[in-house]
């Protein structure tokens, strides 16, 4: 049965690429305004799940809704309400940060003045002012990630799907990014799905987590409750305990 109050509701979702099962019978839900941790090793199926939520790849089984909208039937509606930062991406090298934000804003058919105002606000919020009119070609990893996050926020999304957003960032950049995400959830009620294999980031940011392993969901719930259940103190120990139990 679907959870109508959840921001994201995933029911027995599955995806096969030929003989390879990328996501197998995954179910979880995310509450509105929550920062939800989505953990797992590389290739566990996190990215494919996020891509299915945005309609970028079609599920082969199961169903899911984002803000009550079906991810297959109402794909464009879902995208209108969502922001997405993929794990692997590049920014158009010949555009400036400001031009790129305006370009992305135009994809939402928002009024140009509103897009300009939001772009200015995001540039200021992420400290990109000095570089806003420079070509994106020479941007550092941290700056690129800031522009990446800014483009995901240009439509003031209700749901933010972030795929490995902290990988490649230095400690300061990571700290800043996590602060931004906290502020978004706290001040604006944005629901954040934070996919990562960096366990300390998930531990810092999330109250509830889902853990994927070899395409299957092996745990989902409150972090504190999971720690109690497995009698472990740290996130690393919890993850190892979950994986070992699954392997056994």
């Amino acid at each position: 049965m679907s959870d109508t109050t959840a921001a994201i509701d995933v029911r027995r979702l599955g995806k096969r690429f030929g003989a390879v099962t990328a996501v197998d019978d995954v179910s979880f839900s995310v509450e509105p305004g929550e920062i939800f941790g989505f953990m797992g090793h590389n290739g566990a199926g996190k990215t494919t799940t996020l891509r299915m939520l945005l309609g970028l790849t079609k599920p082969t089984s199961g169903a899911a809704t984002v803000l009550g909208r079906d991810i297959v039937r109402d794909t464009l509606d879902v995208r209108r309400q969502a922001g997405y930062l993929p794990a692997n991406y590049a920014l158009p090298p010949d555009m400036t940060a400001r031009e790129f934000l305006r370009y992305v804003g135009a994809m939402f058919a928002l009024p140009p003045r509103l897009v300009d105002a939001r772009a200015d606000e995001l540039i200021a919020r992420f400290g990109l002012g000095a570089a806003a009119d420079r070509k994106l070609r020479g941007f550092s990893t941290g700056m690129t990630q800031k522009v990446g996050l800014a483009q995901a926020l240009i439509n003031e999304p209700s749901v933010l799907l972030l795929d490995e957003p902290t990988s490649g960032l230095d400690p300061l950049g990571r700290h800043e990014l996590l602060e931004h995400l906290r502020a978004l959830a706290r001040d604006r009620g944005v629901t954040v799905v934070f996919s990562s294999h960096i366990l300390s980031d998930v531990e810092t940011l999330c109250r509830r987590v889902a853990v994927m392993h070899h395409a299957r969901l092996i745990a989902c719930g409150e972090l504190a409750a999971l720690r109690r259940e497995y009698a472990v103190a740290s996130m690393d120990e919890l993850y190892l305990a979950l994986v070992r139990r699954h392997a056994a």
Binding site: L85, A90, A106
Partner: protein
């Protein structure tokens, strides 16, 4: 979508390759009168026989279309459009853009529309420059007829750009799409004026968009809507069908 199209067009117009393409067209405008300063008698006679008109302006129009503009619309659309969506996909930009509330099919239409607009800007710009430069250089030059004839050619340029974009999403590989477009356009340009040389084949050659774009060559003495509108409509229909086919193929692409 119009706003996005406008932003895309502006970004494309600022690219170095667009400026270089513009410079090449300026070179064509400046060099063709020099090439045509003293055409030998056998050239004048042959062109007069094909187009039933011995006016030096007809010789000029033949060379301008055959030597300059047909070559331009065989090469420039490939440079402008045979990378549509594939470049974004291969460089990783599409990973971001595909997650926006604009389907890949519609995004293809925007990108192709923008490439067509850039091609049209380059084409119109070079004809306007020509209309200013040629009167002092070409004997009996008629700016009105020149612009009317080249307005039809513009439709062929836009159609070629749409074809290059659709071939891009059909092949799925940048190098292959450019090579295939160049080969197809090379053959079509080579065959573009065959209908004038061999009137028995004229009907068959009308299937070639480059022939449609050059049809005004046979009616320079009486160029009017009756001559220009049917090929313009045919080229518009072909362009729309081509873009629709490309959009359908783009919709099947995985970001």
């Amino acid at each position: 979508m119009m706003r996005l199209l406008w932003l895309d067009y502006r970004a494309a117009m600022r690219e170095r390759k667009t400026w270089l393409a513009g410079a090449m067209l300026v070179y064509a405008v400046l060099s063709i009168p020099v090439v045509l300063a003293q055409p030998p008698p056998h050239v004048r006679e042959a062109i007069a026989a094909w187009f039933h008109d011995a006016d030096p302006f007809v010789v000029f129009m033949f060379v301008w279309i055959d030597l300059a503009m047909n070559k331009a619309i065989a090469f420039l659309p490939v440079v402008l459009a045979s990378t549509v969506l594939l470049r974004e996909r291969d460089t990783g930009v599409l990973a971001i853009l595909a997650a926006k509330p604009l389907s890949l099919a519609r995004y293809f239409v925007v990108r192709t529309g923008s490439a067509c607009a850039v091609m049209a800007t380059l084409h119109v710009g070079s004809q306007l420059l020509g209309a200013l430069w040629f009167p002092g250089q070409v004997e009996n030059f008629r700016p009105g007829v020149f612009l009317a004839a080249m307005s039809l050619h513009l439709f062929a340029a836009v159609c070629a750009t749409a074809c290059a974009a659709t071939l891009a999403v059909a092949t799925g590989r940048r190098g292959a799409s450019a090579l295939l477009s160049l080969m197809i356009f090379g053959i079509l340009v080579g065959m573009a004026l065959v209908g004038f040389y061999q009137p028995a084949w004229q009907t068959a050659t009308l299937a070639n968009p480059f022939t449609l774009g050059a049809l005004s060559l046979g009616h320079l003495g009486a160029l009017g809507p009756g001559v220009l509108l049917p090929p313009m409509l045919a080229l518009t229909a072909l362009t729309v069908i081509t873009i629709a086919a490309g959009a359908r193929l783009a919709g099947r692409m995985e970001a």
